[in-house]
């Protein structure tokens, strides 16, 4: 119903825009003067005052209306219900809400005194609901009319509608940016809060420096493997290993292709290569993920098995023959390919911002192009390029899909690229997918990992941005 109400409000605002505009015109014509603001601004002024106060109230009622209703309905608990255990009390009120608002109730059967209390509460909920709705209609209508009328009476050729509308525009823009800031704050706070709950059951030292990761919690005391281990070091090492492999691929390939693009490529080649790199950047990571799991993984395994066949009997050969699909190398290489366009386009921008006059100066002394790049352009661009690399590292650490599909789930403390490792992001995914209760350390561990990840990537991004900024200031 509020949807229709909102629609009606919009129609009303459009109408008040028309009225405001025509009134401004008529008044200016009647007085034979040129108005301070164009008539459309007067129209906007009236429309804004009819719309915004009413819309704000409507929004508040939509957000808090249901809670208000619950609070009123639950404010007095019938005696029969009070005798129920607390859990069942909650269920009782859930069913009341479901019946009153047309949802699906639970299968609990209420009879006798409970039945009476139930019917009573349903009726109360319905009446409260309709009262709130009626209140919403009336309040919205009154606010829209009052706001519109008040604004309407102020319109005159001397009224500075243009300035007033300008103020509203800035209020609107501020509101939009506040939404972004509040959302970020909310995410950080919830991350902190849930992490605190996690660290109440697992000590932060054990978490950060422990080497045993097996996030299971026993249902019964006598269960096998019941002791949960929350030492995240294997995850950090796995993340680091994959990031390192990814950067070994992405850094040289990305940087050299950027050098080619910015220093050597003819406009024709550039016009072809740039869009292709952008396509690579546009491939969804999940596609990279199954590419890694289904194509790269098996072919790497076959290659190593084939290599191992040359060394029969040796431990090395034996090991290579038994290499599995899921290994750090596969995830790292594919992630590196994913990062190539990222590194290359950032480095390209940075290399291009080295002034042409430096290149000319070097070329004019008889340096070749590669000498110029090696000795003048790259040293000048180095701070910016290292910033770009840090940004790529922070993306590699936060990347989820590829590692989830190609790296494996076993938490091992190893730097062997042919072994299966797991990363922080993979563990967050496995901890939270499926049906989970949100009060065991197992699920809360995800927030601990998330917080760690957040802090590391935030720090990396801040440092990188600072470096890049410093660098760009140097040549402004």
């Amino acid at each position: 119903m509020t949807g229709y109400l909102f629609l009606a409000l919009i129609v009303f605002s459009v109408a008040s825009f028309m009225f405001g505009r025509s009134l401004a015109r008529r008044k200016a014509a009647a007085q034979g003067v040129r108005a301070h603001s164009l008539p459309a601004f007067s129209g906007w002024f009236v429309a804004i005052w009819s719309f915004i106060p009413a819309a704000v109230v409507l929004l508040v009622l939509v957000i808090f209306g249901a809670r208000l209703e619950n609070a009123i309905v639950q404010s007095d608990v019938p005696a029969a219900v009070q005798q129920l255990p607390e859990l069942n009390q909650g269920l009782f009120f859930q069913d009341v809400r479901a019946i009153a608002n047309g949802g699906t109730p639970s299968t609990t059967v209420y009879d006798g005194e409970l039945k009476a209390a139930f019917d009573h509460k349903v009726a109360q909920a319905r009446s409260v609901d309709s009262t709130i709705n009626l209140g919403a209609y009336v309040l919205t209508a009154v606010l829209a009319l009052a706001g519109g009328l008040l604004a309407y009476t102020r319109i005159s050729p001397q009224f500075r509608a243009r300035n007033s509308v300008e103020r509203w525009v800035s209020v609107f823009l501020v509101a939009c940016s506040v939404v972004a800031i509040l959302t970020t704050l909310g995410i950080i706070l919830s991350l902190l809060w849930e992490s605190l709950r996690f660290f109440q059951s697992v000590s932060p030292l054990d978490f950060l420096f422990g080497t045993h990761w097996s996030p299971q919690i026993a249902m019964r005391a006598d269960q096998v493997g019941s002791s949960g281990g929350f030492g995240a070091v294997p995850l950090f090492i796995g993340t680091f290993l994959i990031m390192l492999i990814a950067m070994c691929v992405a850094a040289p390939v990305g940087l050299f292709s950027a050098i080619y693009l910015s220093e050597y490529a003819t406009p024709f080649m550039r016009a072809w290569i740039k869009p292709v790199l952008e396509i690579l950047a546009g491939v969804p990571t999940v596609v990279y993920g199954f590419f890694a799991a289904l194509v790269v993984g098996p072919s790497f395994r076959e290659f190593f098995n084939w290599l191992g066949a040359f060394m029969p009997g040796t431990p090395m050969g034996e090991y290579l023959m038994n290499v599995q699909n899921q290994m750090a190398l596969v995830a790292g290489v594919v992630m590196g390919i994913m990062l190539i366009p990222f590194v290359s386009s950032l480095s390209d921008d940075i290399i291009n911002s080295v002034p042409q006059s430096l290149r000319d100066g070097s070329l004019a002394m008889g340096a070749t192009r590669s000498e110029t790049i090696k000795k003048v352009v790259l040293p000048a661009a180095l701070p910016g390029i290292s910033g770009a690399m840090l940004l790529a590292v922070s993306r590699a650490i936060g990347e989820t899909m590829i590692v989830t599909m190609a790296a494996g789930l076993q938490a091992k403390t190893t730097l062997n690229p042919l072994d299966t490792v797991t990363t922080v992001t993979v563990q967050i995914v496995t901890l939270l997918t499926g049906d989970q209760e949100f009060d065991s350390p197992k699920t809360l561990a995800a927030f601990g990992l998330g917080l760690t990840l957040f802090i590391v990537t935030l720090a990396l991004n801040l440092i990188a941005q600072r470096i890049v900024q410093k660098y760009q200031e140097q040549y402004d």
């Binding site: 003819t266 002034p355 000319d360 100066g361 004019a364 008889g366 003048v376 040293p379």
Partner: protein
């Protein structure tokens, strides 16, 4: 006339040593001989056939309104137009009798012989010492640290910068003042041992005092080098040059002794330009 004073494809080893007397040229020998030089940038023709002789051991000034092609022609003299993909250069330019647009000529070696100084001082973001040592290093002109020190010192002295920077050779070159930076760039060009120094409006970013110092320096350098300078300031052309060439709309209108150009121009367009009627 000797055709090859120095082959364009051999490294220069004469840094710091007196020149071979047989190579000595006077201010009447043409260093450059240009005939029918045309330049296109894409479809746009920037130069319509330039014929000019540029003398050694003297300063030649190119003047003319913006966009007249004087910088374009200057960039032909050390093939800097090669770095612009859309540029096409036709015609012949002989450097000591050798066509520098010949396919056998390596532009890298040519540019070591024909140095260039740009409008905006462009020291590399390195120390003063490294800036000057840059060219000798890439051309392998010094075999020891002492030799390199010597090249750096003599180049800075020739550029009249030594006294100001001798105690801070290992500070950043970008930290110098604009005029000092421009002299550092000149020292950097001298260090490679060029025969010609091209200057593209070298004083347009400098204040009058720094400008005066550079002009003084140009006058000293002409004892040793062939200098070609592009300038917007007619007063500067009159002060520093012996020969002046006036460019207009991609044509070389008039060239002659600086005195004659400024006191008794033959062409009406030159007359109009130097009296300030256009440009």
């Amino acid at each position: 006339m000797k055709l090859y004073t120095r082959p364009l494809y051999a490294p220069d080893t004469s840094i710091g040593k007196p020149r071979d007397p047989s190579m000595t040229t006077t201010a009447t020998t043409p260093k450059f001989v240009a005939r029918d030089v045309k330049v296109h940038y894409g479809d746009k023709q920037a130069l319509h056939g330039i014929d000019i002789d540029i003398l050694d051991k003297s300063v030649t000034a190119f003047i003319g309104p913006s966009g007249c092609g004087k910088s374009t022609f200057l960039r032909c003299l050390n093939r800097m137009n090669d770095t612009i993909p859309s540029a096409r250069v036709d015609g012949t330019i002989l450097l000591d009798g050798e066509d520098l647009n010949d396919r056998k000529v390596d532009p890298v070696v040519l540019r070591a012989r024909v140095g260039m100084v740009f409008q905006k001082p462009n020291p590399f973001p390195k120390t003063i010492y490294e800036n000057v040592a840059y060219g000798p290093k890439i051309h392998g002109l010094a075999t020891s640290k002492e030799e390199m020190d010597h090249i750096v010192e003599s180049s800075l002295k020739k550029a009249s910068l030594w006294n100001e920077v001798s105690d801070r050779l290992h500070q950043q070159g970008t930290g110098l003042s604009g005029g000092q930076q421009q002299r550092l760039v000149i020292a950097r060009a001298i260090a490679v041992g060029p025969e010609v120094i091209l200057m593209d409006e070298p004083c347009s970013a400098l204040d009058p005092i720094a400008t005066a110092k550079i002009e003084e320096l140009i006058d000293e350098l002409r004892q040793q080098f062939c200098i070609v300078i592009v300038t917007h300031s007619m007063a500067q052309a009159a002060r520093v040059s012996q020969k002046t060439a006036f460019f207009h709309l991609g044509n070389l209108v008039e060239v002659g002794n600086t005195e004659d150009i400024f006191t008794n121009p033959k062409d009406q367009r030159t007359q109009d330009y130097i009296t300030g009627r256009f440009g």
